[in-house]
Point group: C2
């Protein structure tokens, strides 16, 4: 693919936003593992994650943020707030955001009955509430389906469950993947900054990242070179390696 | 403190928002360690973190988000985008957000000169750019000061440096701390949900969290009880322990 073709693609790449819902993240009691997972997986698939937002379990906030994200991005992924307890308000919030009611899903009730082998309690039945018009997607070997409203995919907050569910639907989100090269450099960032600016003048479409690392003996900066065009990244990599002093490169990945 | 007094405080507790700036987070190359750190530290100080937003290195996004957060919260903490390279656009973004220019700080240039013992390169001088009117706060044994614009505290993205800087200014952010109790429960969340609803009816101001844990042998749910009123939390804890079956409690922290 020529650079021009890569650019022609650029406008049509799928974009995504991630909405993390949970007081436990904001109050520092639980560290969010879900947004890093989504970011890595979506990047590998070729989807641009453009925004991650963490908000509390509050119906009005969920409603307004989900709706805004749904309008602005191709895909929205929410995590958290869909369990059976008092602080699980994501379904209400998303329904409010799209101006629809919350309804009881006979299909989910039936799945609960099959999974547990008995009549569901009122508490468990809370998990059968969905926004009216939602789609249910089977998710691997989990009894609980993935609930989808328009372009909003509603995931549980428990990381193990979220990952299983995502794996069962990941093929829906394929774009053109990025090619990534990493160069670990023995110089300080301020010493190589001019050279990076030169590189960007030669390769204006390159996504170039520069990340200082402290406490690493072997290198001081990790550089990342990315594009959806593998040849473009390779050319930029060679140009970078030519610009760097010979002893400056610790390794290339 | 009586519950009524705790409520009287509620309106005046300091609030905060965190803005993480960096393509490297959105693209999954680097996991954000800074927002979990801020959340834990601010919670311990008694500050309510109400929102965490991660955006890319883009001047317009930084400008609009920082300004909106500055208007809505008592404190704003930004992390990332203040190094010497091409993708470090936080200073420009924040200046644009407040409608001020970017100016050269003689004071920072002098600090660079003292720290390095030589004339700073053009690249290093990029780090002496600040929004006009910014305050500079000395930050422990680091040569680089903390730059503050109105209520926005501008932190570096490198976690070790961010932590050192935060420690040097943390006393500015003291509110009334939360008291937290954790109860690890051997029951499933759906089995104890009705009991949690009863507890909330008795203690309507309690911040009650319920977090299922998978892969834990010893317990299935971590409950968290919080309030700024220690007596209120203690009363709620006792009420909860009375409601739970005797063999259900794994431990209390």
């Amino acid at each position: 693919m020529e650079p021009d073709e890569a650019m022609a693609y650029a406008g049509s790449m799928p974009t995504a936003a991630i909405l993390i819902i949970g007081n436990e993240i904001l109050s520092g009691k639980v560290t969010d593992e879900n947004s890093p997972y989504f970011c890595r997986e979506l990047r590998a698939l070729g989807v641009d994650v453009e925004r991650i937002l963490t908000i509390s379990d509050d119906v009005q906030s969920i409603a307004s943020e989900v709706k805004a994200m749904s309008d602005a991005y191709d895909f929205v992924f929410t995590a958290g707030g869909i369990g059976p307890t008092h602080d699980d308000l994501t379904i209400e919030g998303i329904a409010a955001g799209f101006g629809v009611a919350v309804e009881h899903s006979e299909s989910i009730e039936e799945r609960i009955r099959r999974a547990t082998g008995k009549e569901p309690s009122d508490t468990l039945l809370r998990m059968a509430r969905i926004p009216t018009g939602a789609q249910l997607l089977d998710s691997g070997d989990l009894w609980f389906p993935l609930v989808v409203v328009h372009n909003v995919y509603i995931f549980p907050g428990v990381p193990e469950l979220l990952r299983k569910k995502f794996e069962s639907v990941r093929d829906r989100f394929r774009g053109v993947p990025f090619v990534l090269k990493k160069v670990f450099v023995r110089k300080r960032e301020s010493d190589i900054a001019p050279l990076l600016n030169e590189l960007l003048q030669e390769f204006p479409e390159l996504l170039l990242g520069s990340y200082p690392r402290i406490g690493q003996e072997a290198f001081h900066v990790m550089l990342t070179l990315e594009s959806r065009d593998a040849g473009y990244v390779q050319d930029a990599l060679e140009s970078l390696l030519n610009r760097l002093p010979e002893d400056a490169v610790h390794r290339v990945e």
